[in-house]
Symmetry: C2
Subunit: 314 residues, 2 copies
């Protein structure tokens, strides 16, 4: 197979797009794809500050690499989750990536405030991935506000989006379907836009890009993901993709073009209050993150929590 752009021998074969690329043309193609997604979906402009949520995995590091290459002003934000060795390696890879390129990186370690995901999950008996999601949302939002960013970009790729879409469709989660988009507008002035510039590039494409750009990323999956339904969905989608290349990209793209509009977002869903704990927008007196934190405190540090309660004004 020859490179679709320059006719040199192709190193990468993208069956879903019926095209192939040599190494340098693939890097060009990948960056153009991301750039196009940003432009077409109006994710952000060159003069907006982008908070890139970097985990240390291939997707978020590849995303950050593309954004820096394209000249977008970025700030990296890494949340050290406290999931054993996996988190230690993830943080190290992220810090190495930023240091080697002289990039601005902010790190927040959950363990420092007793909120390591593993501890939270065992204290509250919630599924680790659910607790982790709540925690991440809070810190990403808070970091964007604190650092004055206009938008939060995450590394969700096509495989992530297709798997999430399949899960939402298998259970006809119409509220989630209404909100599954590559650009989510903020529903409060303290929140910022959230975007997924890699939503149409596959896992394999980002891995190939990371490899070609010499990005040293954490290859292992999060240990909590083992057995997750999301992985079963990915597996099943891989099977469909194999039989019919382009299935995933068509599934996500056609959903956004034709299916998505069928599921209207419920009105009155905006967060109207300020959380009594952290001051961020909230649906109730406490936001879901502060509720989770309070639950952890009651379970892990009952004496401290009781003391604090007795000191607080009645």
């Amino acid at each position: 197979m020859k490179c679709t752009r320059c006719r040199a021998p192709a190193e990468v074969n993208l069956r879903q797009h019926n095209s192939g690329f040599c190494r340098s043309c693939f890097v060009f193609y990948f960056q153009r794809q991301v750039e196009r997604a940003i432009e077409k979906e109006r994710m952000f402009h060159q003069d907006e500050a982008v908070l890139v949520a970097v985990s240390g995995g291939k997707d978020s590091l590849a995303l950050w690499d593309v954004l820096v290459t394209e000249g977008f002003p970025t700030i990296g934000f890494h949340l050290a989750l406290g999931i054993g060795e996996y988190s230690a390696r993830s943080r190290a890879r992220t810090e190495q990536f930023a240091a080697a390129r002289g990039l601005d990186l902010h790190v927040h370690a959950l363990a420092d405030e007793g909120l390591a995901v593993s501890d939270v999950a065992s204290a509250t008996r919630r599924p680790a991935c659910s607790a982790c999601g709540t925690i991440k949302r809070h810190y990403f939002d808070a970091a964007a506000l604190e650092l004055g960013c206009d938008v939060i970009a995450t590394g969700h790729n096509l495989d992530d989006e297709a798997a999430r879409l399949l899960g939402n469709v298998l259970h006809w989660q119409t509220e989630y379907l209404a909100r599954q988009r590559p650009v989510m507008q903020p529903r409060h002035e303290k929140f910022v836009r959230k975007v997924k510039p890699l939503y149409l590039t596959s896992e394999l494409e980002t891995a190939t890009y990371a490899f070609m750009r010499g990005i040293d990323y954490v290859v292992e999956e999060c240990p909590n993901a083992a057995g997750a339904t999301q992985l079963v969905y990915k597996d099943v989608l891989d099977k469909l993709e194999n039989v019919s290349p382009g299935t995933k990209v068509g599934f996500v793209r056609d959903f956004l073009a034709r299916g998505s509009s069928a599921f209207a977002e419920r009105e009155g869903d905006s967060a109207a209050q300020s959380c009594a704990g952290c001051g961020m927008p909230s649906f109730g007196a406490l936001c879901s993150f502060c509720s989770l934190r309070a639950e952890v405190e009651r379970k892990l540090r009952p004496r401290e929590a009781a003391t604090r309660r007795s000191e607080s004004p009645q």
Copy 2:
């Protein structure tokens, strides 16, 4: 495991319903399931004549068996498709089933009018399954009209419906999604209601029922189905069902409860004309079946077709 109904040792384990049944309770359960679907979805009443489209496979014969057992007035209709030995065996099984039970069966052989599916597919170069679908729809509609039936019942089971739904969702075929229901109301006075009483009973359940009732059905799949995407979808759904029992029934049921309404049927879709060929309702001068037949005649019998054209009034 014990029978959910009578506590005898269970012979069938239905993981998706978290229940098990002994032989006689399974037969009772299966018949009740079908009865409930008919009642709940208002498919038909005891005093309506039901045309059962019987292929000779497990689903349609099991359906006919249940309907007869429950005392519904039925007429069997078998379309002999002309797909080699497979069709010959299918017809034989159907005729044996009807004869053994003294049931009213009408058989129409496509080969008698030169429309065997294999010949049509090769003459028109259409995919066999597409041609077969067009032909079946025409003859089922025509038979219901001719025999004075109020409703056409087909043996589509849960696996068929889930696979079709998955295909429609993967491509976001919103028009098909709007029309995927267990009861389709007629859109012309010459058409009758079409219903799928087995839409919530799995392939395995109908096979088990057929076995327990001593129904001798054609086990082999239609040879044209080999490699069909539908089978890939079924395979993938089996995988999901295995990991999470109840996936298929939830997918179809939740779609009808929550998803389906999102896809409104287009207005003005009713067939307004009468086909110049067969007199059945049609969207154009010729219905899709008569167009197909005309195409076959031009390809296979060009001389006859030309003669007929020259004889027809200008």
